[in-house]
Symmetry: C2
């Protein structure tokens, strides 16, 4: 079996408690000479503290549970990476799990995080989690989307505003019949993006009916199919408005990748025949053909804000829930109709 603290104590000729004092720099002082003996013994025996025992004794597990709908969407991938790093910088390891839209699975996974005494939980957009299991949670929870009910803290993007801003950008280019490709609206972020498109169109006196909306799975394939529905001559927009939308607002980058592909297959030039904008600003969006104009949501920043908030809750539990909201910034590519700025790469 592995080397334990007692082994170290014996080798150093001290009691096990002193080894703890040395390792934890407290709570009692240790003479410099004893400390040196202990450190030497640790080094010689290759002793490593058992994190499980430490956690049981009442310390923390130094673990964060992260629940996302999936991993294949690059937005969640980048978010997971950023969360992992933000907490890693503070000595925490991340337990990750994906729900794949399975409600029963969500509860089970959340419960697993709780059973393992994760010090804190992060739940992203797209995880539905009815209040029930969350109410039993003892550890702090941070939700990365806007929620109506919330006694839980949230840090989110201002999805509705960001959507409106990017739709506005299309309008500035002269578009009025703008289609909307969006994920299932019962997911908060998708619902808000849809609302942003609709409100911006409505407020400016432009069409905003359901005939212009295509709900789609949040994947390349989803965006691809929805785009086909919106742009084909058999689609609803033709039926309702007698013409094809001249632009598409696509609610996520990954759907936009499919949308661009659909346009290409249909022989429609982007942005000349159809302009496309999306939301996310993932790295891959800079390399599509042509590069996407997208509302960039800074996952690094989001993750750091989330980490700061959650770590505070972990260190001093019981504080009031807060609701942070971040704003995206528009990355102008070549799919919206903007001309390349001379001298810019």
């Amino acid at each position: 079996m592995a080397v334990t603290r007692s082994d170290v104590a014996r080798a150093a000729g001290v009691s096990p408690a002193v080894v703890s004092y040395v390792l934890n720099n407290g709570p009692r002082p240790v003479s410099i000479i004893t400390r040196a003996r202990v450190l030497a013994a640790i080094d010689q025996l290759g002793y490593r503290p058992n994190a499980i025992a430490s956690a049981l004794r009442g310390g923390s597990t130094q673990t964060i549970g992260l629940l996302t709908p999936n991993r294949s969407n690059p937005f969640y991938g980048a978010l997971a990476e950023a969360v992992e790093r933000a907490f890693g910088d503070h000595g925490y390891l991340t337990l990750t799990a994906s729900t794949y839209g399975n409600r029963a699975g969500e509860e089970r996974l959340l419960q697993t995080f709780i059973d393992r005494k994760a010090d804190g939980l992060i739940i992203t957009s797209g995880v539905s989690l009815s209040g029930a299991p969350l109410s039993r949670v003892e550890q702090p929870v941070l939700v990365l989307e806007e929620r109506s009910d919330d006694r839980l803290s949230t840090v989110s993007m201002d999805d509705q505003l960001d959507a409106a801003r990017v739709v506005d950008h299309l309008q500035v280019h002269g578009h009025d019949l703008i289609g909307c490709v969006v994920g299932p609206p019962y997911v908060s972020s998708d619902g808000l993006r849809l609302a942003g498109w609709r409100e911006q169109q409505r407020r400016t006196g432009r069409p905003h009916g359901d005939g212009l909306v295509a709900l789609a799975e949040v994947s390349e394939e989803g965006g691809y199919q929805a785009t086909g529905l919106l742009l084909s001559e058999h689609g609803r927009p033709w039926a309702v408005y007698g013409r094809r939308p001249t632009a598409l607002f696509v609610a996520s980058d990954v759907q936009a990748f499919g949308a661009l592909h659909a346009c290409w297959e249909l022989g429609l030039r982007v942005p000349d025949d159809v302009a496309v904008v999306s939301m996310g600003g993932t790295r891959a969006a800079r390399y599509t053909i042509p590069p996407l104009t997208t509302m960039r949501q800074d996952v690094e920043y989001l993750a750091r804000a989330a980490a700061a908030r959650l770590l505070k809750d972990i260190r001093q539990p019981g504080s009031q829930a807060t609701h942070g909201r971040l704003t995206g910034n528009l990355v102008v590519g070549r799919t919206c109709g903007c001309r390349p700025v001379p001298g810019d790469s």
Copy 2:
């Protein structure tokens, strides 16, 4: 504090041991009537076993540690998802960490997994891990790439063969001057892919000098820049061979995304001016413009094979190391010059 097993025992009027017997279905039998009382008490009190205590006592942590270079490469993203799922199906949760190419970080993270008593470790390609820290590991380790030294089990793709096969496909289309975009060759998988390209070119009497190779970071940007170097008139291929390569072998999908973008910027049509093939077969590769011809490596299958092997090692430790090797399958897109098959979508 939370409900403990003693609370349940008291409520059910039995001893704590009986509660364990019920929960674990053993090792002693429990009368059906007692069992019912215990289950009722558990239900009523909302008791959840403390996974930490159970782990300390000597059971397992039901945790797997997964070490990847990063998360932003969709290949690793998909792999992480597949691993998470493959082990999740067996009741294991996945601890994930990324090294970002930082050697010191690798060791530290690996040590953290060990300290937390993860039941098994998975290390992917791109993680260098000198033998040193791995020798101290008590739990089973599975490496997802070929290694020379190995006393550790491996499950890997046959990178060299797969690379040769996809280069062969280019050759069939009549290409002979084929450039190679590849990641740092000290990473096993990249080294093997480079070797596959070189060997296939050499064996068939075609150019295979270093002038045709561009080492690149494994990212869109890396592929983008390397492609610029290979195809521009100031690049080495022109200097050495007096013409531009008519095709590129790109060692990963993510680099190929950048490569396609570079071709587009240079005004080169794919596949007419330059053919492009890659390796990975990630989902996004089906939606590039035009869709990529790529050697698909089935991460689901890879993850299931890895899970099967590692779970076996966990359940019956001390068995001989094995080395599994899987073969990719060519997904023909439109970047290689193949004509679309009529009637196919």
